[in-house]
Symmetry: C2
Subunit: 306 residues, 2 copies
């Protein structure tokens, strides 16, 4: 029954060579929920904020059909904050500040009626918390786990347990190399799958994404954007588009996962066109499907006739 | 009439984390000619060697149907030598030595009967020499130019003249950024095309290649290799497969260029599987077309039915 997302709700302060934004609505849970909302609704959100999280931000999430019953508001607490600065090439960034605040004591509670959720994204948070969420789920059909270098280093054992229990792991290329301790990306994917990962997506930023499932490897291109305004949330938007499409179609076959990767890539491409969540706002099925078809044009070629 | 290649014939000494080879047959002209030979023959080669270039290496080239009338043998001269060492990730390398030798005084001469060649690759050599070759051609149909960072820095004016006069420029992603002075690859492609480049291919190594022609952008995946033994010659093999297929089909439409990119990528994937030219040896149409179809499987996805 439904689609559940656990992740952060955050204030993001982002600086790029071209612009900056302070205390914008961010967090993995936010981007995932909004991206997924275009395919499936309502999206059940499990997360935590402080009392400083403004009504305006709750309103935005609710406009995208997020069910916020699972979002704990900590009395007197302060919301998680992240500040980062992107380099000239927009592919690399420095984290300027991470204030965990209410995340430090976060003990995620999945509301009773949500425990039967069938499609689940464990957004990028401490694997210890991802495990706590997994423990509260009844019998999910398809669970996606996102993570990052910080947890690969600092919570390796917990992360290894998470990835054995989920259906799909999404990481980026440098994280895949780090997790597998192997520079060749294809070999790294093999090592990671032997850790117990049933399906694996390796995101490569401006170079697209690779999906590994069963004996299938699928290479998805990146949408060729001339202007990337803010890469923050791209990976979360990818995960949101992917899970939203899977939930909508109730089909986790390899062929449908390929389409889900393209929808995920489409949502990521919208996301990075503008600061914060603005690129995800006010999209339509028409625009999303147009972008999907642009991915078709970008990658299709015919076999020789002879 | 036919396919002409100008490039280097070289002794390559290559070291990787796994193996090494000394004085192996190498050079842009060598890889291009052998890769192209599977599609079109004979390939007319313009280049220069010293007296130390062994009969054994001439025999290899002739086995692949290379016409070596345009290869000058300099009396008492020494053949061009390159030595390089690949890093652990196999994506980056250090050049340990470059001995130009006979290349220093090279004055390429296209045999009279070859000047009507219709399909031409200007392999990676000094743009001054590429211009000299262009000046000797009658009315080629399709000329491809390969180059490298060294010439973008050191022969910028000459290179700018070359790329205005050819039909296609092939460079890698860091070279594209360097040539355009622009970190965004899509924007860089636009800048380069405004320099007068009709079609552009940006090679991205393990991430595939991008083709820009007319209003088309085509993103080709890389073949997912678990073992890369020697990346030397990959770009040249790509160019060789591409021009060989174009020459064979006599079709330079955007749709056929996409296929040519996939054949080029196929030849590059064979090349890097073994040291020196060994990965290109003894291939068959069957194996090449099988690999082409693997690229199809790797990148194909269906639109949603709903």
């Amino acid at each position: 029954m439904g689609l559940l997302v656990v992740g952060t709700l955050a204030f993001d302060s982002v600086e790029t060579p071209f612009d900056k934004a302070d205390n914008a609505l961010g967090g993995s849970g936010t981007f995932i929920a909004i991206a997924a909302s275009y395919f499936s609704g309502p999206v059940k959100v499990v997360g935590v904020v402080g009392e400083d999280f403004p009504k305006e931000y709750f309103d935005i999430l609710e406009r995208y059909n997020a069910d916020l019953e699972g979002v704990e508001v900590v009395k007197g607490g302060k919301t998680f904050r992240w500040a980062g600065k992107y380099h000239y090439d927009m592919n690399t960034r420095d984290t300027l500040a991470t204030e965990l605040n209410v995340l430090e004591q976060f003990d995620p509670k999945v509301p009773e009626s949500w425990r039967s959720a069938k499609y689940v994204v464990l957004g990028n948070i401490d694997p210890t918390l991802q495990l706590k969420v997994l423990d509260q789920l009844d019998n999910p059909s398809f669970v996606v786990c996102d993570t990052m270098n910080f947890w690969i280093d600092g919570r390796r054992d917990e992360l290894m347990e998470v990835i054995k229990r989920v259906d799909m792991l999404i990481i980026n290329d440098s994280e895949a190399r780090q997790l597998a301790d192997e520079p060749n990306l294809v070999k790294a994917a093999g090592v990671i799958r032997e850790m117990g990962v049933r399906s694996l997506i390796i995101k490569k930023g401006e170079h697209g994404a690779l999906l590994f499932i069963e004996d299938v490897i699928f290479s998805a291109p990146a949408y060729p954007l001339e202007m990337i305004n803010d890469p923050t949330g791209a990976g979360d938007s990818f995960a949101g588009g992917l899970i939203g499409y899977l939930h909508k179609t109730q089909d986790v076959s390899a062929e449908n996962l390929k389409r889900a990767v393209i929808y995920g890539s489409s949502m990521a491409s919208f996301c990075v066109e503008q600061f914060s969540i603005r690129g995800l706002e006010d999209l339509s099925d028409l625009r999303i499907n147009d972008r999907f078809r642009e991915f078709v044009r970008l990658s299709a070629f015919d076999e020789p006739t002879a």
